[in-house]
């Protein structure tokens, strides 16, 4: 726990000096931090509770659209519209989970894709709600204390606060009673039930926390894009990206999703020139390599080796 918190502090410090060292790549920084936050949030459900969702883009979309529609239609500041998005996302996850948590394993995953895809079609076709397929342009933002929220540097600090906040939440969960309940449900629902845990309740709670946090990042993403299109924000491939970031980094670990985000986003940047829009190719290749050679992800494998070495040392005396 202490070690994790020290790590988080180091991350915060590194994050704060990053704009000074590399001011030219702030957009990459925002993207890394957003994906780190989303993947960590996804991991609460997908890694700690073991329920692989491929529908998290829906919550990114909810967050982004609340900020955009709030600002353009109702002159709502993001500090009002983001909490609203969080509430809506959590309620939505509650209904979604109630409906689908009786499905297990791959069937749950399939149902998340189906629901997310229906939401995407709604977002594209219901123009009165979302501005439709043409998209929404955010043309107004309040300037609290003279801070321009359209400025990339300010968005960077928001994204940093978001990523650190989500990771702090995960660290808190990992040592709490709830965290142990999540792991129990992931390993074996029947045994968890025998130990007095209600799996559906635990999974619902994980889904609600996960989706609420994802929506916060979605709101920041909306600010960053400032032009929102439903077929990008609610897109299956965004859900896939979020999930694979966490899985490649290491599911059910505190640092895995961050490592995954740094690795995948920077790899995407490096290969952008050679692969252009086909940068998801890297995700495909990496997930195959991970599955075949490091099934518990980069950090998962690292932790496993560390533990093994520790025990070996202890045994030697």
């Amino acid at each position: 726990m202490i070690r994790h918190l020290i790590g988080l502090l180091i991350l915060l410090i590194l994050g704060l000096i990053y704009p000074w060292i590399m001011p030219g790549t702030l957009t990459v920084g925002v993207t890394i931090l957003l994906f780190a936050g989303w993947a960590t949030a996804w991991d609460i459900l997908g890694g700690w509770a073991g329920q692989v969702s491929l529908g998290h883009a829906s919550f990114v979309g909810i967050g982004a659209y609340f900020v955009a529609i709030g600002a353009t239609e109702y002159a709502l500041a993001p500090w009002w519209s983001i909490p609203m998005a969080v509430a809506v996302a959590a309620l939505f996850a509650l209904a979604w989970g109630r409906l689908t948590f009786k499905l297990h394993g791959p069937y749950f995953t399939l149902s998340t894709i189906a629901i997310a895809e229906i939401l995407r079609l709604i977002a594209i076709n219901e123009g009165w709600l979302t501005g439709g397929a043409t998209g929404v342009f955010i043309d107004w933002m309040p300037t609290p204390f003279g801070i321009d929220l359209f400025e990339r540097e300010n968005q960077y600090y928001l994204a940093l606060a978001f990523a650190v906040g989500v990771m702090a939440t995960t660290i808190g969960i990992s040592r709490s009673r709830f965290g142990y309940q999540l792991r129990a449900v992931r390993e074996d629902e029947n045994s968890a039930m025998a130990a007095g845990i209600n799996p559906t309740r635990v999974k619902l709670k994980a889904f609600m926390i996960s989706s609420a946090l994802t929506a916060v990042g979605g709101g920041i993403y909306g600010l960053m894009l400032s032009f929102l299109e439903p077929h990008i924000l609610f897109y299956l491939l965004l859900s896939v990206q979020i999930a694979l970031t966490a899985i490649i980094g290491g599911r059910g670990t505190v640092w895995g999703p961050l490592v995954g985000a740094v690795l995948l986003v920077s790899a995407g940047e490096i290969f952008r020139t050679s692969f252009a829009e086909a940068n998801l190719l890297i995700y495909g290749v990496l997930i195959l390599l991970i599955i075949l050679f490091l099934p518990s992800g980069i950090i998962g494998e690292f932790n496993r080796r560390l533990t093994r070495r520790l025990y070996a040392k202890r045994a030697q005396g």
Partner: protein, 294 residues
């Protein structure tokens, strides 16, 4: 009377497009039945079939259906290779692992096609595209009829293979009970490779039948078709080819009727909604008798 003719017209169109969905679903259900793998890349194989036909049409000016001569063997070999390299090593891992592996394959295939052919949507224009055959007042387009005929042929062949050939019997035995099949001397490892090859072959054939009918983009069309194939096999009941045929026909009719009488923008949503309802309330499928917990 005009309304009735319209309805018959719509239903026949739905059945014909549904037949192609059935072929896609048959491959997926075959793979699921034997390997217990949910093949996420299935739709991308359909698109790969489409783009192969497209490439043949571009380079040699051949009719898309002639490319079947290449697509059939190439699809089978590709499937066997992928099974050997990626899926065979993880066969005993949890279901999720193979789901993620096929998701990776899907991303790789889709993005390689994107790099090769570019992002614009493609289709093949055939000379007989606007021809129709009239049955009384009902007019059916020739390309739809051709797609339906190819499907009927392929599915007929598949039925004969599964029920009358030794190889097909081994497939069914492996699907029913892998250990039991091994005990009577069936090499289930090679059966799994062959079944994945067969599934990919069916998917790519469906792609060839679909390319004169619709436009396809490399990364976007694949997942949509994968979802449709899931809808098809969950509708009918997992793991049985006959059920996939029924599921495909139902999906085709539901889509066409929803498009015609409710709202065309939600064409892809009707199937998904139906899918969720089935998954939640009758997970063994419409005609299912299995008691397997989903």
């Amino acid at each position: 009377m005009g309304e009735l003719v319209g309805l018959i017209q719509n239903i026949s169109n739905g059945l014909l497009i549904g037949a192609v969905y059935a072929m896609v679903g048959a491959g997926l259900t075959l793979i699921f039945g034997v390997m217990r793998t949910i093949n996420f890349a299935h739709g991308d194989f359909v698109v790969l079939g489409m783009y192969t036909a497209f490439a043949f049409n571009m380079i040699f000016g051949l009719d898309p259906y002639l490319s079947l001569l290449v697509v059939l063997p190439a699809g089978f070999v590709l499937g066997v290779l992928i099974e050997r390299m990626v899926l065979a090593p993880i066969v005993d891992k949890p279901h999720e692992t193979s789901l993620l592996a096929t998701l990776g394959i899907s991303l790789i295939i889709g993005n390689i096609m994107l790099l090769t052919f570019g992002g614009e949507s493609k289709s093949v224009y055939v000379a007989y595209a606007s021809e129709v055959v009239s049955f009384g007042e009902v007019r059916l387009s020739v390309i739809l009829l051709l797609a339906g005929a190819v499907t009927a042929l392929v599915m007929g062949g598949l039925y004969l293979l599964l029920h009358y050939a030794e190889f097909g019997r081994s497939i069914r035995a492996t699907a029913e009970n892998r250990l039991g099949a091994e005990l009577v001397g069936i090499n289930t490892r090679s059966i799994q490779g062959a079944v994945f090859g067969l599934g990919v072959m069916l998917a790519m054939t469906a792609g060839v039948a679909l390319i004169p009918l619709l436009f396809a983009t490399p990364t976007a069309t694949g997942p949509i078709l994968t979802l449709k194939a899931f809808v098809v096999i969950v509708l009918g009941g997992l793991g049985r080819v006959g059920a996939a045929v029924a599921g495909g026909l139902i999906l085709g009719v539901v889509e066409v009727l929803g498009t015609a009488y409710i709202a065309s923008a939600y064409r892809d949503a009707y199937g998904l909604l139906f899918f969720l309802i089935i998954l939640l309330f009758k997970p063994e499928g419409l005609f299912g008798r299995s008691v397997k917990r989903v």
